[in-house]
């Protein structure tokens, strides 16, 4: 067992699950989505990203790319939230944008986990 694999696997899965936790709920009602969950999703996605840095393999490069996509979408989601809260005011468009951006990040995270699991299955012990 390689400890660094455990750590990176842990953060990759955690990034997906926290992302899903935030995304789950009615996309038009912001109250069904916790800001703490978005915060956790951003932090865990960033950590997952740094654990994918410096991997020379092809699969490592693709994993890093998916993680970067998720980061960008989640940070965009948080930025839109701040924009709505402080600048333009909350309206249904802003709310759906916040949720759907995190939905995009969720898709990227799913791809990332699928690749990660596939890679694990492929390696013969």
């Amino acid at each position: 067992m390689n400890l660094s694999n455990v750590i990176s696997g842990f953060f990759i899965i955690l990034a997906l699950t926290t992302n899903f936790g935030f995304f789950y709920g009615d996309p038009t009602i912001l109250e069904e989505h916790s800001k703490y969950e978005l915060f956790a999703a951003i932090i865990f996605n960033l950590i997952a990203t740094i654990y994918k840095l410096g991997d020379k393999t092809q699969i490592g490069a693709v994993l890093l790319a998916t993680s970067l996509v998720a980061d960008i979408q989640l940070v965009a989601s948080a930025s839109v939230w701040a924009l709505g809260a402080y600048v333009v005011g909350m309206n249904p468009e802003i709310v759906t944008a916040i949720i759907s951006l995190s939905g995009g990040a969720l898709a990227a995270n799913i791809v990332s986990v699928v690749l990660f699991v596939g890679e694990t299955i492929k390696s013969k012990r």
């Binding site: 915060f39 932090i43 950590i47 740094i50 654990y51 840095l53 410096g54 020379k56």
Partner: protein, 566 residues
Amino acid sequence: MDNTALFLIIRRLRLPMFVLIVTFAISILGLTLIPGQDDQGNVYHMTFFDAFFFVSYMASTIGFGEAPYTFTYPQRLWVSFSIYMTVIGWFYAIGSIIALMQDKILSSQLAILQFQKKIKSLKSPFIIFVGYNLLTKNIIHKLSEEGIQSVVIEKDESKIDEMVLASYMLEIPAMHGDINDPEVFQIAGISKPECKAIVSLSSNDNLNLHAAMSAKLLNSKVKVIVEATHDEYADNLNTIGIEIVENPFKFIAKRFYMALRAPSLLMLERWIYDEPFKLDPRDLLPTQGKYIVCGYGRMGKAIRIALKRAGMEYLFIETNPKKVRQMREGDRQIVMGEGQDRKILLDAGVKDASCIIAGMNDDFINLSIIMAARKINPSIFTVARQNNIHDQSVFNAAKIDRVIVVQNLLINQTFIAIARPLSERFLQMIKNMGAEWGDGLAMALKEVIGENPLKKETEIIDKHAHALCRHIKEVGPVPLYVLYRNRGDYNLNNKIVALYLKRGEEEFLMPDSSMELQLGDKILFAGDDEAFDDLEYIMQNIYELHYVLQGESCEVSLSCKLHLEA
């Protein structure tokens, strides 16, 4: 491309960045959870944005004050805890990033990447030099003046720095690497079709052999030029098919012999090396009398061969008993002792010897030998070996008749082997010719061309000889003498002679002027400026070629006539 080290270094960024993100996350989360008080005394919770904003300037120690409202004590408690946590995390991350930037491995990786980029962008033929020393420095200098690109592989980084300071006409990419790693040759571009030659002129034969072998294995088309002063190494190199093995002591032997028995060949050789086409009395050696040679090392052995072949009387003086024994096996003309010792010199018969040769590998011993010999016999012809190029001024001041600089010979030889391949072959061929042949050629050159003939190498290919190639392809063969004709009057011949012609694997020394030219022929000419001018016109320009072939201007177009009249 192998940049494993680069990935290892990026990997090292993981921990600092992890620490940075975690400390930020904990502080931000704490701030949003702890209740505060706004200016009206209402309880409020900081939003994530407020907390992120505050932590960002807190952690980087910028510090704009408490925002958006003055903090309550529970908040301050948390902030004072997070200041220490985030500031330490921040400094740790920044410190590691800066340390990585200065990392030796990273900077050497970056240097290799830059070098690779330079090699990749090289579109002209280039030469790889293994090792940067005085010899290669001079050769690179000469080559860059000719516009030939060089690339350097050097083990010692300080020499690369030195190289940057020496300003060449061209930018010379240099790489820090050890040729024991074949990858280094690959990075230097040995497999590129533009790579024409590998040169290794280290004083260490072993290293040269190593460089030659790996170069030949990696790219069999590349020309390998190496120095080998020991015969065993030279044999090894010849068996693996290295074309040019340079033994400076063999050159010296050859030159000694030529100076004694075939001065015109020596003159021709010096002329090929771009020296004037004449012989100084100082270049000649006394052809009679006894030779006294100090030192029976690599140089002494070479001189002995030359003297023996020339049939001269000689005597060696050597300090090392082992070498004395070695020579005594076949030849008794050796005494043991120090060359600068007056008694030994007297015993050796310096008084009535005609020439003394100081061939030790120490410059100051050589100088003192010369001084001592001259004191006994002021009219003796003195020859000294100069080992270090930097000792030039001392040797000049000593007024020695002939100074042999081993390095200079190697520089000249390597330069023509790279930049003037035809001249190099010509030299190889003439050295087996006798003195009479050389006299004949030297006389003929002086007669036809004059006191100061020039050389030119050319090739019958479309790039250099458009008109000629077209004519040979479409009309028929052109004899060599057509190229000698004068552009003004085709009945007259220019001052020009072909010395050497190479056709595929066939070689012709002094080709007959009625020989028919073929595409791809490579020719070495001797002539004057005017003749070379005409030669270029005749080869390139259809109308000029037509004129010298037919003896009449072609009546094709007005522009042609205008061209001829002008």
